[in-house]
Point group: C2
Chain length 299, copies 2
DNA sequence: TAAGGTTACGGCGATCGTAACGATC
DNA sequence: GATCGTTACGATCGCCGTAACCTTA
């Protein structure tokens, strides 16, 4: 058993058990990986893969168990390398942040700018995705840190940290009936609603708030980001329920906004990362920066 | 980085950072390990060890962090090997059980005998030690499974399973005043007491029971095992507080026994093993056997 | 017949062993 | 001077690459 074989198994999973592609990824010829796999299975004494002819078509029960350990080893290997890099120069590195549109546009700009000033040597990649995808990306090491509001509490392989709290608000064209008068849950149900897609930016909290009252919103458009919602509110297709911080009093001057904190409970945006994943110092500082920005927002 | 280097670091810890001894354990010459360590540190870019001259005298901060990952990798490697062995022949293997005197003598014989009948190919090693040592042995992989009553709940790297409950009892020579009359905590404090050492066989439970009542036992002898206690009870040095199941009505016919369940709360004997440690099938069956024996005892 | 996998063999490099050389107690 | 670690160099063994072959969609 050696680390190259471990790496091979890991890559085989990434390549849908295709030896040729795995060889390519490892920058060696296909025959080499074929042999290494044979040697490894021979050493263990049992096959790790189900085969159809010569093709690998799945994992044996043993293979599945082994793969879990492989993942552990790989993580530990990466951690060692990260730790060592930290000691060499904690001002160089790459930070992969996965987040949703709302966070990327309305929360991250400030802390990221401040972080970049302090750590000019760190390259930051921001990947925008849905909350489910964010979590997948953490697991597949495509992202180091995820920032979002939904889902992350369910996964016990993640560490989540409370970042900031916020409320939803309703936006409507200037002069819209909802601009004035009492703002009740019941009244909201009488308008066509434009809001976030399932799994985005507190959508579940919105649903829950109305369900509990036995009410149902007439959601005629569900979008992954606020800009789309605003666009259709402009067209007077209905009223938009969005995150309060996504309203820009200057850019959105032609839209009215009213707070919904008395109707929809607060949402909590969290920072998440893999429990087993060693975060380089600069990543830890990045998180600090996020928390500072969250505090500032509150004040 | 490769697994031999990982293994080397692991063994260096076992040998108090002695390269020569590490080389011996790895069955290679000393110069080889010296070079491998250099290569590894070179690859990481920073030293892992504090040196005094050429001798290794301790770990650098980086080294400490790395060692934790090394342990993870090593565990995963062992797990893979265990899993593979299971598929080859789950009737061959070695089982290291660490336990205290009381369990080894009064609880384990039956389940072990039954286990041996079912799995004649498994060699069982029983190591007797103090509860603290048991836990150390789990961590150092000297033992696979520990069976004891104390301490194991504090360590969150362990999985503990409830095995059986039991009570303490008091033993005294036939004709001793305590053989008759009411058995109260207060009365017990009037006799010299012989019982277990700190950390053994529910000693903490005994202490606690009397402390809570504002009483203090006059413990004139503390032993790690029941036999020593019995011996001195024979000499009429005092009364013995022992685990109920350690009294053998035949062998101990010249000793009286009275139950203390109304005075000292029940103790719980547990089975413990490392959370990260894959237990071979036969080990899992061994645990089953223990649980069956525990149930039988109850009935 | 193209794509995926295996087998055979030669070459190269990583790692070992021998051995001679510090350094520290 | 005994123990522990480093350095130099030749030898070996493991792993890769080439290339021919096998199998299945």
């Amino acid at each position: 058993m050696n680390l190259n074989q471990i790496e091979l198994l890991r890559i085989l999973q990434e390549t849908q058990l295709n030896l040729s592609k795995a060889a390519e990824k490892m920058h060696i010829v296909q025959s080499a990986v074929s042999r290494q796999l044979q040697l490894f299975e021979e050493e263990l004494g049992s096959p790790l893969f189900e085969r159809k002819g010569k093709k690998l078509i799945g994992l044996t029960p043993l293979g599945k168990n082994v793969m879990a350990e492989i993942a552990t080893i790989n993580q530990a290997k990466l951690n060692i390398q990260s730790m060592a890099s930290d000691y060499l120069d904690s001002n160089k590195g790459i930070l992969h942040v996965a987040t949703t549109h709302t966070q990327a546009k309305y929360f991250l700009p400030t802390p990221i700018q401040r972080f970049r000033e302090k750590y000019p040597g760190i390259r930051i990649y921001i990947v925008q995705a849905s909350p489910e995808q964010l979590i997948d990306q953490l697991h597949s090491h495509t992202a180091d840190i995820a920032i979002c509001t939904e889902k992350v509490d369910d996964d016990n392989k993640l560490i989540t940290r409370h970042c900031y709290e916020w409320h939803h608000a309703v936006i409507m064209p200037r002069g819209h009936p909802l601009c004035t008068g009492e703002l009740t849950p019941e009244r909201l149900t009488t308008f066509p609603i434009l809001t976030y897609s399932h799994g985005f930016t507190g959508r579940s909290t919105i649903e829950h708030a109305f369900q509990q009252r036995g009410l149902q919103l007439d959601i005629i458009l569900a979008a992954a980001d606020t800009d789309v919602i605003k666009t259709y509110v402009h067209f007077d297709m209905g009223v938009g329920i969005i995150a309060r911080m996504a309203y820009d009093s200057q850019a959105d001057a032609d839209l009215g906004i009213r707070d919904l904190s008395h109707i929809i409970p607060k949402s909590i945006t969290k920072i998440a990362y893999l429990k087993q994943h060693y975060l380089p110092l600069y990543s830890q500082h990045f998180i600090e920066e996020l928390l500072i920005a969250a505090k500032d927002m509150k004040a």
